[in-house]
C-alpha cells in the first residue's frame, strides 16, 4: 500500500467525494429534499466527468510532460460511441411500436430501414453508414467506447513518439489531429449526422417511464464511481516505480533514455491509457448533456482542458480534479446570466461579456505567478514548500528547470 502512503491526499479525496455524493443525493429531487434542481444535479454529474478527464490530462501532461491537445477528442469519441447505441436503441423502440400497427408484420430489413430514416432523416439521408454496424448492440458499443479512442491514441502515439516528436511540436500535432477529427465529423458524409451530432441522449431506451430526476442521480453516481476508480488508478500509477520513470521522462527525456528505459513505450502506454480514461469519461458525460456534436471536439475544448489542469495544479491528481470542477462551475455561474452586473457608474460590467476576458487574464496570472495553481494553496496549508535551494540551479541548464517538486 505504498500508494496510500505516498498519497496522503488519497484518503481525503475519497472521503470528500463520498460525502459530496451523499450530500447531493440527499438534496436531489429524486431521493431527497429537492434543494438541488435536476438541471444542477446534471451539471454536477457532468463536472465529475470533467474532473475525470482532467485527471487523465494531468497524468499525460503533469506527470509525463506531454502537453496533449487531443484528449478532449478522445472524450468526444467515447461520447459518440455510446451515443450511437443510445440513438439506435431508442429509435428502434419507437419504430417497432409504430410498425406494430402495420398490416403486415415488418421484416428485419424494413425495421432497420425505418430506423435509418428516423435517425438520418434529420440530416437528409436514410441509409445506415458502415460505422453504425454495431450500433444495435449495447455491449459492442461499450467495447468500442474503449477500443476506438484507444486504437486511435495507440496508432497516433506510436507514430508520433517513434518519430521523436516532442514538446510544443507534439502539442501542435495533437491539435492538428483534433482539428482533423472535428472537421471530419462536421461532414455529413462521415455518417455521424454532421454538425447536428447525436441528440436526445438523455432519454435512455426503454426508460421512458422513469423521470429524469432519477436518471440524473444515477448518472451522478456512476460518474462519481468512475472518478473514484480513475483517481485510484492514477494514484497507483504515479506512486510506484512507474511513476518515477514517467516523471523522469517529463524532466529530462534524454537522460531517462540513456538510463536504458524505453521512453517511447512508457509514453505510449500513458498516452493510450489516458485516452481510454478520457473516452470513458465522455461516455458518461454525454448521456447527461443530452447531445454530442463535433463542436465539442474542436481544438479549443482540449486547450480548455489544459487550462483546467494548470489552474488546478499540475503534477498532483487532486489538483486536476479541483481545477476542472472549479473552472467549469465558475464558468457556468458567470455565463449563466445569474451573476449580478457591476455598475461602475460610467460603465456597467456585464459578466456575460467580460467573463472570458477575466478567465484569459487569470490564466496568464496563474501561469506567471502561481505555476502550481490552486493545488499550491494546499502546500501553504501543509507547509510542503519546495526546498529552499539557493546557489546551484537545478540541473545543468535552465531549460530543465520545468517543474520543481522535490520533497523535503
Amino acid at each position: 500500500m505504498t500508494m496510500f502512503k505516498k498519497n496522503p491526499s488519497l484518503m481525503v479525496f475519497i472521503g470528500l467525494l463520498a460525502i459530496f455524493t451523499l450530500a447531493v443525493t440527499f438534496m436531489s429531487e429524486a431521493y431527497g429534499t429537492g434543494a438541488l434542481s435536476t438541471s444542477f444535479v446534471k451539471t454536477l454529474g457532468k463536472t465529475l466527468c470533467l474532473a475525470l478527464v482532467a485527471i487523465a490530462m494531468d497524468l499525460v501532461w503533469g506527470y509525463t510532460g506531454i502537453l496533449s491537445l487531443g484528449h478532449f477528442a478522445f472524450f468526444g469519441l467515447g461520447g459518440y460511441m455510446i451515443g450511437m447505441w443510445l440513438m439506435y436503441a431508442r429509435t428502434e423502440i419507437i419504430v417497432v411500436e409504430s410498425m406494430a400497427n402495420a398490416a403486415l408484420p415488418p421484416t428485419p430489413s424494413e425495421i432497420s430501414d425505418a430506423i435509418g430514416t428516423q435517425i438520418f432523416g434529420v440530416v437528409g439521408s436514410s441509409d445506415f453508414p458502415l460505422i453504425w454496424t454495431f450500433a444495435h448492440s449495447f455491449w459492442a458499443q461499450i467495447a468500442l467506447v474503449v477500443l476506438v479512442p484507444g486504437l486511435l491514441a495507440l496508432v497516433f502515439g506510436w507514430l508520433a513518439f517513434r518519430s521523436r516528436v516532442t514538446g510544443v511540436y507534439l502539442s501542435i500535432l495533437t491539435q492538428a489531429m483534433t482539428l482533423a477529427l472535428s472537421l471530419y465529423l462536421f461532414q455529413n458524409d462521415s455518417g455521424l449526422r454532421g454538425n447536428n451530432g447525436l441528440s436526445g441522449l438523455q432519454n435512455l431506451p426503454g426508460a421512458d417511464a422513469i423521470s429524469q430526476d432519477n436518471i440524473s442521480i444515477w448518472f451522478f453516481w456512476a460518474s462519481a464511481f468512475a472518478l473514484l476508480l480513475t483517481y485510484l488508478i492514477a494514484a497507483f500509477i504515479v506512486s510506484g516505480k512507474f511513476g518515477s520513470v514517467i516523471r523522469g521522462i517529463r524532466d529530462d527525456e534524454a537522460r531517462v533514455r540513456f538510463l536504458g528505459y524505453s521512453v517511447e513505450g512508457f509514453k505510449l502506454f500513458i498516452f493510450t491509457l489516458t485516452a481510454v480514461i478520457a473516452a470513458i469519461g465522455g461516455a458518461l458525460y454525454y448521456p447527461q448533456a443530452g447531445i454530442i456534436n463535433p463542436a465539442e471536439i474542436a481544438p479549443i475544448a482540449s486547450i480548455y482542458l489544459a487550462v483546467w489542469v494548470a489552474i488546478g495544479g499540475r503534477g498532483r491528481i487532486y489538483g486536476a480534479a479541483i481545477g476542472a470542477g472549479f473552472v467549469s462551475l465558475v464558468s457556468t455561474y458567470f455565463t449563466g446570466g445569474q451573476a449580478p452586473d457591476i455598475n461602475l457608474g460610467f460603465y456597467t460590467i456585464k459578466w456575460v461579456d467580460w467573463w472570458l476576458v477575466l478567465l484569459g487574464l487569470s490564466f496568464v496570472l496563474v501561469t506567471l505567478f502561481a505555476p502550481k495553481g490552486i493545488g499550491g494553496l494546499f502546500d501553504l496549508i501543509t507547509h510542503r514548500m519546495s526546498p529552499n535551494r539557493h546557489g546551484l540551479p537545478l540541473g545543468p541548464d535552465k531549460g530543465s528547470l520545468r517543474e520543481e517538486e522535490a520533497e523535503k
Binding site: 491539435q175 492538428a176 461532414q187
Partner: protein, 650 residues
Amino acid sequence: MLRSLIAACLLLTCSLAAQAQDRTIQDVLQEHAEVIAQSSRKTIAPAIDAIAGSGLPAAQDVLQAWQAKDMWQRESDGLFFKAERVDSSTYELIDFATGESVGTADKGDLEQLKPNSGIRAMIGAALVQFQLNDPDAERRREALLAIQRDGEASHLAPLRASIEGETNPEIKALKETTERLLTISFDPDDAARVKAIEGFKGSLSLDARAALNPVLTTKIVPAEGLPESANVKRELRAGSPDLTVSEGYDLLVSAGVIEPQPSLAERKAALESHIENGAVAGVPLAELNTQDARDRAYAALAQEGVAPAFDPDFTMEAAVASAKFAEVYDEPSKAVTDAAEATLASINRAVGLNQFFDLSLDGLSLASIYFLAAIGLAITFGVMGVINMAHGEFIMMGAYTGYVVQQIVPDYTVSILLAIPLAFAVTFAAGVAMERLIIRWLYNRPLETLLATFGVSIALQQLAKNIFGTQARPLTSPGWLDGALSFNDVVSISYIRIAIFILALIFLGVFLFIMKKTRLGLETRAVTQNPRMAASMGINPDKVNMLTFGLGSGIAGIAGVAIGLYAKVTSELGSDYIVQSFMTVVVGGVGNIWGTLLGATMIGFLQKGIEWFNPSNTLAAQTYMIVFIIIFIQFRPKGIIALKGRAAGD
C-alpha cells in the same frame, strides 16, 4: 370611342393599317397595363413585343426606362411615366412621347415598376434592334451582351446588317463574334453553321462553349425501331458508366419493350390488399415478417391470378443484357454535330490546360495567404521558438485597425495606405507589451508560454467582441483592387489576391533583408542560438528579443489588413488561421523562412488539389489536408527544410 375602335382593329389584326398617327406609346402601354403591372416573365412577352413592334419613336425610351426601373405608374389614372427623383417623397413625371415634364407627384401616388432580371433580359433582347446602330458605343456593346445572354433567331438579320456600318473596330470584332455565335444556334443553312463552328477551334470563350454544347445535346433511346435518319452518336449497352442497369431497365420499360416486374413496394401492397382471415394466400400474417415468406405468399397470389406475375429469379441485369441502346443527337444534321464535336474537343483540351493554370493560380493565391498569415509566426515561433497562440489575435487586431481607419478616413485608397503602417504600429506595440509582461518570464517553459498566450488569445478575442460587437465589420478594398485579372474566360484571378501575393513577396524580401543584412537580424540569430554567448558579446538579449517579437507581431498586423480585405473582419478571424499557420511553419521547418514559404506553397496547392478531386465538399479537402500534414510530420518531423548542426538546437 376612337380608342376602342383601334382596339377592335388590333383584335382583327389589321394593326398595320390602323397604326394611326395619333396612337401614342401611352396607348400601347395602357393596352398591356395589367401584365406590365403584374410584372411576371411568364406573361410579359406580348407587352414587350407590342412596345418594341409599335414603330413609335418613344419605344426605345420606354424600354430603356422600364429596364432601368425608371418607369412609374400613376395610381390615380394608371398612366405610365418616366419619373425622376426630386427629393425623397416627390418625383418629377416625364411623358414618354414628348419627353417633357408633366409636373411632379407624391411618391405615395406612384407605383414603381420593378422588372425582375428575367424581364430585364427580355427587354434587353427587345432593345437589340434599336441599340445595334445606336450612336452611343456603350449602348451597342450592351445590345451585343444582351444577344450573347439571350440570343434569338430574329437578332441574326439585324446584327448581320449592322456589321457593315460599324466603325468602332472593337465593337465590330464583338459583332462578328456574336454573329458567328448566333449563326451556330439559329442559321438554317448547315454549311454556314459548320463554318461558324470551325471558326471557334481552340477558343476559350465561355460563349463559344455555350453555343456549341446545345448543338451536341443527346438522349439515349433503345436502338430498336430507331428511324434511319437519326443522327446517332454511338451505340451502347446498359451497365456501362454512361448508362446504368436501372436506367436501361427504365428506358426499356417505358418503351414498352419489356414488361415491368412488380417492385418490392407493389408486392407488399398486393399482399396487404389480400389479407383474409389473418392470412395471405394461406400464409399466416405472423409469419410474414421475413422477405422469404412474403415472396412465397406473393407467388401464391400470382398463381391465383389476383396479382401480376413475379419471377423471383428476375434481375435487372438479365433483363437488359441483350438490349442495345443508342445515343442520339437532338440536332439532325450529322455535318454540324461532327464539326461541333471536333471543335469542342479542341476547345476542351485548351480549357483543361487553362483550368489547370487557374487552379494553380488559386493554389498560389492560397499559399500566399497562408504565407502571409504565417510569416510573423515564422519569426516569433520559427526564429525565437516562442509559441504564441495569440498570433491569430494580432492578425485580427490588424484587420480591426484597418476597419477603424476606414471609419475615420473615407477614401479607401488613403485609408489602406494609412492602415498598413498603423496596423504594424498597433500590433508591434501589443507584441512588445506581451513580450515584456509575459513571455520573457517563460522563455524556459515553452509549454507554459503556449498556455499563457492562449489566455491572452481568448481575452483579446472577447475584448474585440465587447468593443466591436460580434457582427462582421466591413473592410472595403479601394476601387482599383476591384475586379479580376482575366487572361481568358477560364483563367482569372482577382486583383486583391494579386495584391496579397505581392505583399507576401515583399515581406519575404523584408524578412530576408532584416535577418541577413541588418544588425538586428544578426543579433537575433545570435541570441536565439546562444543567448549567453551573445550576451557576452555585448548584445542585450532582452532588447533583441523584445524587438524581434514586436517585428513578428507587427507583420501579423499587416497580414490582418490584407486578410480582412479579401475575407471578413470578425473577432474570430484570427482563430481561423492559427492552426494552419503553425502547421505551415512546422511543415516547412522551423527557423527557416524558405521552409515556411515551401510549407505554405505545399499546403496551398495540396488543398486546391484535393478540392479539385472532390469539388462538392470543401470541408473534406481541409480534413484530408490536415491528415496529410500529420502523416508528413511523422516522416519528416523537422519539416521540409531541417536545420542542421548547432542551429538545430539539439
